[in-house]
């Protein structure tokens, strides 16, 4: 008996099996923007956040530095301890704040004594307390002071006080004999710096594959170091260059590697395995290695699929469950340094651009603490350009030698790889430290 119901099923199944109908011509136009919409421009926000962090750290360092410098190195007059009530001459006019200008230089700018109102007593006040006399003067004669007069234990730091036009008696040999001569200006600095570096990348593409690859890659702790030269253009600005070596890399998790595949390799390919990564495609360079991806089917391309070759049944030696991708660069920087604080503990802002030349590119798996080279990453740009922004702290041990400490954020302008759709912009944060010598 014929199953007529099933019969009509077959008629429709076979009849419609290969049926095709062209969709309306504009159907694709609505799909196109919908697929693009999940790409979010978060990169700008992340860069801004990172710069904000650098500036916040810098500001804290600056505040700490200025406090420390006040205690360590303020150049000051010693007032005779016997004359607690000794008055200091304060001019009524031509008075202005002159912070950080050495007294020696002021001597040459003195005006005639007759123009200066002298002998107005200024009682020694507590820190951050303005003399009431000064307030009276201001009330009677208009604005004369725009700051506070500081005193601590009868020592008035000139850099914080209102020197302006001082009583010439103050420049008597008794006062100025301890003033050091202006040191010879040293134009050049050479420094040796080294830093551990945290390295990661901004994913500016947000496509499904890149996001998946990013989630399977972890940055390994990297390092950077080298020699820097700086030339002082003026009191504030210097230009800095040098030569740095930096090493950075990724751990590709979930990819197990085995050695001993040479005995089973029956192909004549240049490489048996390709591994897709955010920095390019890894090509195995030896036929002795076998790779298998435990967590994704997309990353590895090979002819030796699991239905063709089962590594568990072969006599292979297990190496590791991840690969490490390593890149080394020689960096030629061109930085501008601006000196914010020029004291015993100095503060600089450093920024500029660098050219990074790829000098080493390896992929390896770890074996008993050693490295088993698997291959190299193809498609990596031989030159990467990076921008840097940092805050340098400089503690001067002597006139020539300083200890440097530079938290630095570095952003790579071009991605490491030019592969389509893999726009990962690496960035790094490191704290460079080392010694510098001025000459």
């Amino acid at each position: 008996m014929v199953d007529r119901g099933a019969n009509i099923d077959i008629v429709f199944r076979n009849g419609l099996k290969d049926y095709e109908v062209l969709p309306p011509a504009d159907a694709w136009d609505k799909i196109r923007p919908a697929v693009r919409k999940n790409q979010k421009p978060v990169i700008v926000l992340r860069v801004a956040a990172m710069i904000a962090v650098v500036f916040s750290l810098s500001f804290l360092a600056y505040k700490w530095s200025t406090n420390l410098s006040d205690r360590l190195g303020s150049f000051s007059f010693a007032v005779n301890p016997e004359s607690e009530n000794q008055s200091v001459a304060v001019p009524q006019r031509n008075m202005y704040r002159q912070a950080a200008i050495p007294v020696i230089a002021k001597q040459e700018q003195q005006e005639p004594v007759s123009d200066v109102v002298t002998d107005i007593p200024i009682p020694v006040a507590n820190d951050n307390q303005v003399s009431p006399v000064l307030n009276n003067i201001e009330a009677e004669n208009g604005p004369t002071f725009k700051g506070t007069l500081k005193s601590k234990n009868n020592i008035i730091p000139l850099e914080k006080s209102y020197t302006g036009q001082l009583n010439p008696n103050l420049y008597s040999p008794a006062f100025v004999s301890d003033i050091p001569e202006k040191p010879e200006d040293k134009k050049w600095t050479i420094a040796a710096l080294v830093s551990p570096t945290y390295y990661s990348g901004f994913n500016s593409d947000h496509n499904a594959l890149t996001s998946m690859l990013v989630s399977k890659e972890q940055a390994v702790i990297s390092y950077s170091g080298g020699v820097a030269f700086a030339y002082k253009i003026n009191k504030r600005f210097s230009v800095q260059s040098g030569l740095y070596y930096s090493s950075l890399g990724n751990e590709l998790s979930g990819i197990s590697s085995y050695s001993g595949f040479y005995n089973y390799d029956r192909t004549k390919n240049d490489h048996n395995f390709e591994v897709l990564t955010t920095n390019g495609t890894v090509y195995t360079s030896t036929s002795d290695v076998f790779l298998i991806d435990k967590i994704s089917t997309i990353r590895i391309s090979t002819n030796y699929t699991s239905d063709m070759f089962d590594p568990t049944k072969a006599n292979l030696k297990y190496l590791d469950n991840s690969l490490t991708q390593n890149f080394s660069y020689l960096e030629l920087p061109l930085f501008v340094k601006y000196k914010l604080v020029d004291k015993t503990l100095g503060i600089n802002v450093i920024g500029g651009l660098s050219s990074n030349f790829l000098v080493n590119n390896t992929v390896y798996s770890s074996l008993n603490g050693g490295k088993y080279q698997v291959g190299k990453t193809e498609g990596v740009n031989p030159i990467a350009f990076s921008s840097s922004l940092g805050m340098g702290m400089e503690y001067n041990f002597s006139r020539n030698i300083s200890l440097n400490f530079e938290p630095t954020f570095r952003y790579y302008i071009n991605p490491f790889t030019g592969a389509d759709g893999m726009r990962i912009h690496p960035y790094s944060f490191g704290i460079f430290s080392g010694l510098s010598y001025k000459f």
Binding site: R4, L22, D420
Partner: protein, 186 residues
């Protein structure tokens, strides 16, 4: 012609050219599926567009196990089901439950004259739930248990819907073949 694996990889990278290549390669085949599951062209077009967006979004989960054709087809069928579920309360199938079964089955040889276009036209004339159940059972190969889960109906309802769908189709096929014979014979 580029290998489908390379196209998929390009799509995963967000490459517009590869996305369009994938669309061009499967659009006609999948649009036919959309027509098969929908009552009108506008709905079919919506299913196609939503289906392709889901395909691109879910490509990263494709494991290269089984055929890619089958995978994209399943996504489009599921999209059609979602579309149906979103508006199923707009349709009533009870109205056509009284269709007589007698003399509905044409002879086997009568099927031979029907082209895919005729079959498509016939299947799209089914009431929505009958059409969905028939497609899922007869074309996609799902069991009544699976269909009942997918459509939130009982297995009995699924069987009943299938049976009634077959009756309607047999009758329509008979009408088509009769009409065609008359046209040919003058």
């Amino acid at each position: 012609m580029p290998e489908i694996k390379n196209i998929i990889k390009g799509c995963l990278l967000g490459n517009r050219r590869d996305q369009e290549l994938l669309y061009r390669r499967y659009a006609a085949k999948l649009y036919a599926v959309c027509l098969q599951y929908s009552g009108n062209d506008e709905e079919a077009r919506d299913i196609l567009q939503e289906g392709f967006i889901k395909i691109f979004e879910n490509l990263v989960h494709y494991k290269y196990e089984g055929s890619f054709d089958g995978w994209v087809r399943r996504i489009v069928v599921n999209t059609a089901l979602e579309k149906y579920r979103s508006k199923h309360n707009l349709y009533r199938v009870d109205d056509i439950d009284q269709i007589p079964e007698q003399n509905a089955e044409p002879d086997n040889e009568d099927y031979a004259g029907l082209g895919a276009r005729d079959l498509m036209e016939i299947i799209r004339e089914l009431p929505p739930r009958y059409r969905i159940v028939f497609n899922l059972f007869a074309i996609e190969g799902y069991s009544h248990k699976e269909i009942s889960d997918m459509m939130s109906i009982s297995e009995g309802t699924s069987k009943s819907n299938l049976s009634r769908a077959r009756v309607i189709l047999q009758r329509r096929v008979g009408s088509y073949t009769g009409l065609k014979k008359n046209l040919i014979n003058g």
